[in-house]
């Protein structure tokens, strides 16, 4: 009798395991079949220099930034950004910004031929910051207007000379050796940003909304000014 019950339990367990396994396979298989993921095995690099003028008593501030990107780490340069913005602090946690910039993309294998594309961009931005206890959270909403100028011999199919884009970034900061950010603060930061293109890039399907996601983890240190 005991042996019979044990056999029943064993069979029952096997059936359950098979059922769960089948469900898992059925759940995973279509995902693999309907999505193609490609990751460039080569790491690139982003080098960024920013000067920030914090908002004064009336709330007005600004910033300027230069950024360059490379296809390999510190080599195969192909991209530059120059941009600046004027900010206005509506309240302690509530900032508006109007920015503009120039973005140049080249072929790193043929820099002498000039930029493949030069983009000029304007954007309007709203930043909400939560100084909650030690962990600080930031939500950034951005609407962009983008104008493209391609090199004469570059004709991407279906390219648009003008496009809009919307972005949202969630950023968390954890100061390690102080409660708030001040001089000589070592910190950890992580963010995730989604980009939405209301019109597809280089696509004739205008109903689709391709997206970009940028995830970052970084560590840093605040140094005293001057």
């Amino acid at each position: 009798m005991i042996t019979h019950l044990s056999s029943q339990r064993l069979v029952g367990g096997l059936v359950r395991a098979l059922l769960v396994g089948s469900l898992l396979v059925a759940w995973l298989a279509p995902v693999q079949a309907q999505s193609v993921k490609m990751t460039d095995p080569q790491w690139g690099s982003w080098l960024i220099a920013t000067a920030v003028l914090p908002g004064g008593p009336k709330g007005w501030g600004g910033y300027a930034e230069v950024q360059t990107r490379t296809n390999g780490v510190m080599r195969q340069f192909f991209y530059t950004e120059l941009k600046a913005g004027v900010s206005y602090g509506v309240a302690k946690n509530f900032n508006l910004l109007l920015g503009g910039g120039r973005y140049s993309t080249a072929d790193y294998r043929d820099l002498k031929a000039g930029a493949l594309n030069v983009e000029r961009r304007l954007w309007q931005q709203l930043t909400l910051t939560q100084f909650t206890a030690r962990l600080k959270l930031e939500h950034r909403y951005r609407i962009e207007q983008r104008w493209f100028r391609f090199r004469d011999d570059v004709v991407p199919t279906g390219a648009f000379a003008y496009r809009n884009r919307m972005r949202y970034r969630f950023n968390a900061f954890l100061p390690l050796n102080h409660q708030t950010f001040t001089d000589k603060t070592v910190f950890l930061s992580a963010y995730d940003e989604v980009f939405f293109n209301p019109r597809g890039p280089f696509s004739s399907v205008t109903a689709c909304m391709p997206a970009r996601v940028t995830s970052s983890i970084s560590t840093g240190r605040c140094r005293p000014a001057g």
Binding site: S45, T50, P54, E65, G200, V205, P210, S218, A225
Partner: protein, 56 residues
């Protein structure tokens, strides 16, 4: 100063192309990020709390 890692992924929606069904694609690249952010000091003005956010 900040040093970090950025994973940038471009998603293209699935569509019905001239050669048939084209699945959603995700093209990603990892990047090393080095950043210097300088806050212009204003010693005569009251300091407000801030976060060292990347402007990007």
């Amino acid at each position: 100063m900040q040093a970090g890692w950025v994973n940038q992924a471009n998603y293209s929606a699935a569509r019905n192309g001239p050669t048939g069904f084209v699945p959603q694609t995700n093209v990603a690249k990892n990047n090393l990020v080095l950043s210097v952010l300088y806050r212009i000091s204003q010693p005569d003005k009251p300091a407000r709390q801030y976060v060292p956010s990347q402007q990007d």
